[in-house]
Symmetry: C2
DNA sequence: CCTGAAATTGCCGCTAA
DNA sequence: TTAGCGGCAATTTCAGG
């Protein structure tokens, strides 16, 4: 896991597509699909893992099935952009597991957060007690997910 | 993969945590970690897969390493909320692989899209030629990702 | 292609309602 | 007693050299 872009040929891309579609596919089967034998196929996978192209493997858990039916996107503006304030805010985000993704953004608001919660009460607790009290937070704007039309999926390769 | 919420005990949750952390972990090892033998552990995994708790397994590909360094969140408002218009819009979204995630939202804007692109030109092409011409689209507002602080990660269980 | 390890399945035993 | 759950052991398939 390091460095910049490495070059990928068509076979690498096929491997990535297959692994995005099924992260637990057997290497043997995958090799067959991409027209390789298992050994070189595995070598390519390892190479992409080490280059950070494949960041990790994960089971995609449906939040609505595990008691987390509330999802929100929250835009956050900081009052200060001093490095120290930003760093403290980042640490505060790291510590909250409700925040499943966080991005620094261009434009009016400084951050975009993706948050899950078990109910509105839990969400309110997070928004009012945790988020608004994080270092430097000036303003937040929450929008709730009504329906996931296209759940986080594969990157086009 | 169907139905509503099934009940999960502490062992199920441990399994989910481990599988979110490493989607390719060997069942044998996982079983050991959660204090079971492989057979019941695998049975629980299968049960959660079938219940849709585990939606799928995937390799997490870093878009910046595969030539897709531009990411944006786009809010979209439709001019009509007629079911037919919305359905056509949903289909149009499905067809665009740049759209890696899409949600119907509460509040001012109707949708939130997560979009990846190879460069600003490609993004502009998508935004102007594709998105703005999708059925019913009235207004869009794009914000670009400057940095992923917390890349899409595990749901807290 | 080969060897050890893992996944999977059948079968049995235990426990609680 | 029966439904549910866990474990052992045998078999098939896979990972990695």
């Amino acid at each position: 896991m390091a460095k910049s872009t490495i070059s990928l040929d068509e076979i690498d891309r096929r491997i990535l597509r297959a692994l995005q579609q099924d992260g637990r596919i057997a290497v043997t089967l995958l090799a067959e699909q991409v027209g390789l034998s298992a050994t070189p196929c595995l070598r390519r996978i390892r190479r992409m893992e080490e280059a950070g192209v494949i960041a990790r493997y994960t089971a995609v858990v449906d939040p609505t099935r595990v008691g987390l039916p509330i999802q929100a996107f929250v835009q956050v503006a900081l009052s200060s952009h001093a490095e120290e304030v930003a760093a403290a805010f980042h640490r505060a985000l790291e510590a909250r597991s409700e925040v499943v993704a966080a991005y620094a953004m261009s434009g009016g608001m400084d951050y975009m957060l993706h948050v899950v919660a078990s109910d509105f009460e839990a969400y309110a607790e997070f928004a009012l007690k945790a988020l608004l009290r994080m270092p430097g937070v000036k303003e937040t704007r929450s929008s709730f997910v009504l329906m996931a039309l296209k759940p986080p999926g594969a990157v086009p390769i």
